[in-house]
Amino acid sequence: MAVKNYIEAITDALALEMRRDERVFVMGEDVGVRGGVFRATAGLLDEFGPQRVLDTPLAEAGIVGTAIGAALNGMLPVAEIQFVDFILPAVNQIISEAAKIRYRTAGDFHCPIVIRAPYGGGVHGALYHSQCLEALFTHVPGLKVVTPASPYDAKGLLLSAIRDPDPVLFFEHKRCYRLLKGDVPADDYTVPIGKVAVRREGSDITVFSYGLMLHFCQEAAEDLASEGISVHLVDLRTLLPLDRESILAAASRTGKALIVHEDNKTHGIGAEVAALISEEVFFDLDAPIMRLCGPDVPAMPYSSPMEKYYMLDQKKIADKMRELAAF
């Protein structure tokens, strides 16, 4: 097994699936000659040629709409949106079209597209290269939303996403790209969409997170372990559909639940997970459900002190974990 970083795992999955299935192709801004501005599609043009690795004009509504059309006519497009912030011109295509195609045709058509997009902050990206926009899409039945937090999952979940018969938004935390390294099998394997992964077994509090924050939670959980507090850490991995059973079981296990995400708090993923827990396993709880999230401001500022203030980190998370454990 080779050690790969997160972005290499993505490239690996794309190449593997393009070799395996002629219908798969990638499209997006700068994905060809440049191999993507983050280099997720590096080498694909050389191997598969310009017919299957398309540099598109700079227009996201066109990218996603074209992908949908190709999918309706039998192809399996993987569209790259350069930054998730720039998915917004394509939201009409995603929500009005992709999400509703199966439903509105009573199953006659379906829309097997994947839209990959880097998201998240802490990279001096300012307002428009730092956003987490997952909550915009997790409110939309018909879509699937996946946010892997390890190289292994990045490859396995991307393969599942491409093989999924429905539209999948595949959000890659851009800080994870080169920060995370791990074992990634060279061969074909999948990680199921819609299933959490327990990253750490524990008995005092249960913490749910995803993406980059999952790693900060892991580090914070180690700090707490040395203080004698045992954290049960759950990587949500898929935000839509949520893995209800596993989430409920994990919350019941300790009776104390904390949801941590970088995205801002109001109407975020944490609200849904908290509502689910309180609806279903309220009587197993020993403390109010807690959330630790980004502040409710429009987006992350550029200035370093402001960016630091905005971003969660190991210390902020450890403090919140202690607060819950002490309750």
Binding site: D30, G32, R34, P89, L127, H129, S303, M306, Y309
Partner: protein, 335 residues
């Protein structure tokens, strides 16, 4: 450029010297930001090198103080012409609290200043083009003679917003200059993969306005084209689409490596047509400036850049908690 060209255009020696001064200032500020970036002092930059001629030529045709600008991230020379100071630009590069564009919130290149008539913009390319149309509509509703200039790259001209804006302005004959700075690349994607038909200007006809392609490295040619467009707009004859052909002499941004998608020979060839060198040569040829004048100007400019950097670097960052401010109006303010 014929020797008499600037006088034929009704420009004075003083005016063309000032245009050259702005180009040199933009170039030297830009070069310094690269050094600051490579020294780890500023995290990011986008550059205007190669676009100075197009920007200064266009800005010179506008009436600063009356006309409005919806710029894009390369418009360093353009906003200098609109009155932004070198120190203000450096405050933005260093993300300081006193950055007039955003108080350190936006990346460099995201210009906006009510005082200067520069409408704020985001990073999402093309969004500003519709704002320009709305601003022109507002001006006309109030019976003002304002002209609105909006700038964008040829790649960004493929966003739906460009087409929606151009059509709106064409239908309503609004006083907008659509100023496309065509540098033949959108990051790595070359013009031929970006623009079907190869010309942004040719689209003008479809939207009910003249579309003019001009040599963007010829400052005076750009000035002439935009001056005519401004005249049309002010007389109520509607919008014009101008496509200034130029070249980005450096990578797309501090995060880009342009050697992955264009040859060094191509870049070197483009440098020989650098608008700054061309205009400098022209001004010497027509006797408006001597080599010594230009050297003195360069030295003066470098001192200005030094001062701007020192001042900006020493200025305070925004307070961390100010992250929470300006989401909504703090009071029931007048609007």
């Amino acid at each position: 450029m014929t020797p008499e060209k600037y006088r034929e255009l009704g420009l004075t020696g003083e005016q063309v010297r000032d245009m050259y001064r702005l180009m040199v200032l933009a170039r030297e500020l830009d070069k310094r930001t690269w050094l600051l970036n490579r020294a780890g002092k500023i995290p990011f930059l986008v550059s205007c090198q190669g676009h100075e001629g197009a920007q200064v030529g266009a800005a010179a045709a506008l009436e600063v103080g009356t006309d409005l600008l919806c710029p894009y991230y390369r418009d360093i020379a353009m906003v200098l012409a609109f009155g932004m100071t070198p120190t203000e630009l450096m405050l933005s590069n260093f993300a300081r609290a006193a950055d007039p564009n955003s108080g350190g919130r936006q990346m460099p290149g995201h210009f906006g200043s009510r005082r200067l008539g520069i409408l704020t913009g985001s990073s999402a390319v093309g969004t500003q083009i519709t704002h320009a149309v709305g601003a022109a509509l507002a001006a006309r509703m109030r019976g003002e003679t304002t002209v609105v200039m909006t700038c964008f790259g040829e790649g960004s001209g493929n966003q739906g917003e460009f087409h929606e804006a151009a059509n709106f302005a064409g239908v309503h004959k609004l006083p907008v200059i659509f100023f496309c700075q065509n540098n033949r690349y959108a990051i790595s994607v070359p013009l031929e993969k970006q623009v079907g038909g190869g010309s942004i200007a040719a689209r003008g006809q479809g939207y009910g306005m003249p579309g003019v392609r001009v040599d963007g490295n010829d400052v005076l040619a750009v000035y002439e084209t935009v001056r005519d467009a401004v005249l049309r707009a002010r007389q109520g004859e509607g919008p014009t689409l101008v496509e200034a052909m130029t070249y980005r002499l450096v990578p797309h941004s501090s995060d880009d490596d342009d050697s992955t998608y264009r040859s060094r020979e191509e870049v070197e060839a483009a440098k020989r047509d650098d608008p700054l060198l061309r205009f400098g040569r022209y001004l010497r040829n027509v006797g408006v400036m001597t080599e010594a004048d230009q050297e003195a100007l360069l030295q003066k400019t470098l001192a200005i850049v030094d001062a701007a950097v020192s001042e900006a670097e020493a200025a305070p960052s925004p307070a961390p908690e100010s992250t929470l401010e300006h989401v909504y109006a703090a009071t029931r303010e007048e609007h």
